[in-house]
Amino acid sequence: MTAAGTPRYDCIVVGGGHNGLVCAAYLARGGRSVLVLEAAGQVGGAAVTREFAPGFQVSACAHLLHLMPGALMRELGLSAQGLKLAAQHLPTTALSGDGAHLSLAPAGLAQRLPADAVAYGEWQALGQRLAAALHPVLTDAPPRLGTGSWRARASLLRLGWRIRRLGRCDMRELLRIGGMNVQDLLDERFESPLLKGALAVDAVLGTNLGPRSPGTVLTLLYRMAAAGGAEALAQPAGGLGALSTALAGAATAAGAQIRTQAPVARILVSADRASGVVLASGEEIAADVVVSSADPKTTFLGLLGSEHLDAGFTRRVAQLRTGGLAAKLHLALERLPQFPDLDRQALRGRLLIAPSPQYIERAFNHAKYGEFSAAPMLEITVPTLADPTLAPPGKHVLSAIVQYAPYSLRSGWQAQRQSFTDLAIDTIGAFAPDLRDCLHSAQLLTPPDIEREFRIAGGHWHHAELALDQFFLVRPVPGAAQYQGPVAGLYLCGAGCHPGGGVMGVAGRNAARQVLREAA
């Protein structure tokens, strides 16, 4: 039933996170009437800038931009929408307990570790060649097997051709290392535990994996391929929320409408076809197509309901591994803490506390048993160095991803929140002795907090764990891997789809293409 006067839309996009906004922008540019429904008071989802202490703002979940394809940003005209980068090509520095911090910039590496510097160069070159071959895998919609469609076959042939074209040497190496764990790979190539630790971070960040877990070379290659081989960490001016604002601008400019504070309660189905949504307020809005940027569990089990789905499919969705392990720590600082042995240029970049793969593995061990890491791994940025607008004059913000903080903590997060916050602060404090003196206040977002505040079941930033059984052709589950679930007219465009999370936007764009193609 459509209430009198409520317009009908071609497409409703559930959730105004970056993927939802990208999808809406492409749909609107494809000539569809589009309504984006966002539950929160502002768009952005987990790509959002928030005030976490009076006057202090921070990118509340994701804090760096490095995966969104440049072509996508150009197509949507994000700079015309006001998106500016406060910093680009941020350096990465691996912190060492003895003060001998290691910059991953080639010059620093060559000076400190001549042998590893050569090996690192070779690895980066190989990584770039593999990434170039694999990049289309990450940017295109995965083919659907068993349908005999020419599009699926052509897509697989293209992939095979690209891998073959790597040449015998690289192809063999890809097929050898593809299923390896990253620690074995790093042990083959490098000497320095500090360097290996820093590289292992990229393989396990945001996942339920340790450096010895199978599939960690895959996640590392994934990150390299998504970034097109040349990883360029950037920080938008105004935080990640500014990116979402620009995406919303692009969507609106193309004709999409966006409503905030409009949480969707249910996706409506009539005659076995998605026909609109009901808001929590009870308002019904009709549409020909519903695209959900929510995670697969929320979309299928929460918004749609298993009575519209087959039992086997429902079970696959329910069994998705979606428990997050990354917590977010935000510190409001009265002044910039002193990091001895670290120059200001390094401090503007990405700091890693992961002095060896073994350190990360030990941190991960705890997570396997429902405990938080006794010595956590951290990725730290001080965004106010490049973008002072995020804090009152002279004051600073520190933003850190802290692993591992399992979603299902055996002793419960209620009881453990403060001790984990203290542990994380002290872990950073070991490198900045006056950190506690600078501290104005601290905020910790655990996976259950992320689940609640950003409406991601499990609080996992990829919505569903990135592992081979939840990847590419079968992401999030067989039967929904081409951005379309079993109910006609219902599409997925969130991080739970191929190619996954990180502020990438590719899932949103691919879903829009799928809608435009199939509902043409």
Partner: protein, 402 residues
């Protein structure tokens, strides 16, 4: 039931609460395994037992039927999404036969659903499948528990079955219509017995459901009251003849559950099994609906049909051909029997399109064992209506007093 003095490895099969009574009456000591229980295959002779079904009253131990208790505020919604049939019409006191499928529309099992109260059901199935039921329960407010060992059951089938129950003090049992159930207190000790007018014989008959502790008491009372009505315990072999006459399917003979098949293409859909009348596309979504709709659109590639075959030699394990020369195979027999009541040579068979049309003729390749000399015979077979045998008394309410 398992006993402490007999550890499991010495007693791999369970005994039903009727086991001691059955063993005492068994003349040929022929027992078979059924769902983990030891049950009687034949008591005396198959023929004697078969004729008890059709001419007097037969008693068959149903206890090994797998039983699930399904309760909760979402029980009806759960069942309606599980089953191909519309369960919304199933009121308390009613029973429905239905099938259920996997996502691909392939049959997992068939069974009967007993509505005991609003949102309280008992599901009786041939195979254990708690795993599938639990998967189907995701998102529904429902509790499912297997109660096979908590409920003993007997099938009382045959023309004198109603009169026998009346004589035993089941007052009003004659008013029970097919697919209805009611609770009774059996005199003199007022043993609680649930009676449903259901069965697997296509004849007048009832199924009795009771607590295991009361099982022997009910058995003894039936045997005593049935003496003048020709009561006879029967085994699975006699029942198999009756169920083929009635046109009922048996899992692992006429189809294999999609949960158990290993080879691609050996699963069967309800449409292929001739159970399309159980599939209600209009009731809303159920598991397998989209796949079955697609199959219906394409039209079935094969169909399970009833065959009437010339001669009197049952067509066991028989291949079916389009031509007498046996050059083109078009299907095979799944169940076969000589039907003593209809005096016809009957079979259930899976036939490829287009050979399954009503009245179509095919050739059955039957092997005859003539005193250990095997002969091959091509017999003409015709696709005929099922059930092969459907006496009016199976539906008559109240039944005539035989």
């Amino acid at each position: 039931m398992l006993t402490e003095s007999e550890p499991h490895f010495r007693q791999p099969l369970l005994k039903t609460p009727f086991h001691e009574r059955a063993r005492a009456l068994s003349q040929v000591d022929s027992f078979v395994a059924w769902s983990g229980y030891s049950t009687v295959d034949v008591f005396t002779t198959v023929e004697q037992e078969y004729f008890a079904i059709r001419n007097s009253t037969s008693v068959y131990d149903l206890t090994p039927m797998v039983k699930y208790r399904i309760v909760g505020a979402g029980a009806l919604r759960f069942l309606n999404r599980l089953m191909t049939r519309d369960m919304r019409n199933l009121a308390p006191g009613k029973v429905a036969y239905s099938v259920w499928c996997d996502d691909s529309g392939h049959l997992i099992d068939d069974g009967t659903v007993f509505c005991l109260a609003v949102n309280e059901y008992r599901l009786c199935t041939a195979e254990r499948q708690l795993d599938w039921l639990c998967a189907s329960a995701i998102g529904f407010d429902v509790e499912i528990a297997e109660v096979t060992e908590e409920v003993a059951a007997l099938a009382l089938q045959g023309p004198t079955s109603c009169a026998l129950l009346q004589a035993l003090g089941f007052d009003g049992v004659e008013r029970l219509k097919p697919f209805e159930l009611r609770q009774f207190a059996m005199p003199p000790a007022a043993l609680p017995v649930m009676v449903s007018r259901t069965g697997f014989t296509g004849d007048l008959g009832y199924e009795l459901w009771m607590q295991p502790a009361d099982a022997e008491g009910v058995w003894d009372a039936l045997m005593e009251a049935g003496r003048t009505r020709g009561i006879r315990p029967i085994g699975s072999r006699a029942l198999n003849i009756a169920r083929i006459e009635a046109g009922f399917l048996l899992p692992n003979l006429d189809f294999i559950s999609a949960g158990h098949t290993l080879r691609i293409g050996t699963e069967r859909s309800p449409l292929e099994l001739g159970l399309g009348w159980l599939v209600d596309f209009g009731k809303g979504h159920f598991t397998g609906r989209r796949a079955l709709l697609e199959e219906q659109r394409r039209g079935p590639a094969r169909l399970l049909v009833g065959l009437d075959i010339e001669g009197n030699k049952p067509a066991h394990n028989t291949l079916l051909y389009a031509d007498r020369a046996g050059m083109k195979q078009v299907g095979s027999v799944t169940s076969a029997t000589w039907s003593p009541t209809t005096k016809r040579n009957l079979a259930l068979a899976m036939l490829d399109a287009p050979h399954f049309a009503m009245g179509a003729a095919v050739w059955a390749e039957i092997y005859l064992n003539r005193e250990l000399t095997w002969q091959r015979r091509m017999a003409r077979a015709r696709v005929v209506e099922r059930p092969f045998y459907a006496p009016a008394r199976r539906r008559a309410t109240p039944p005539a007093d035989f």
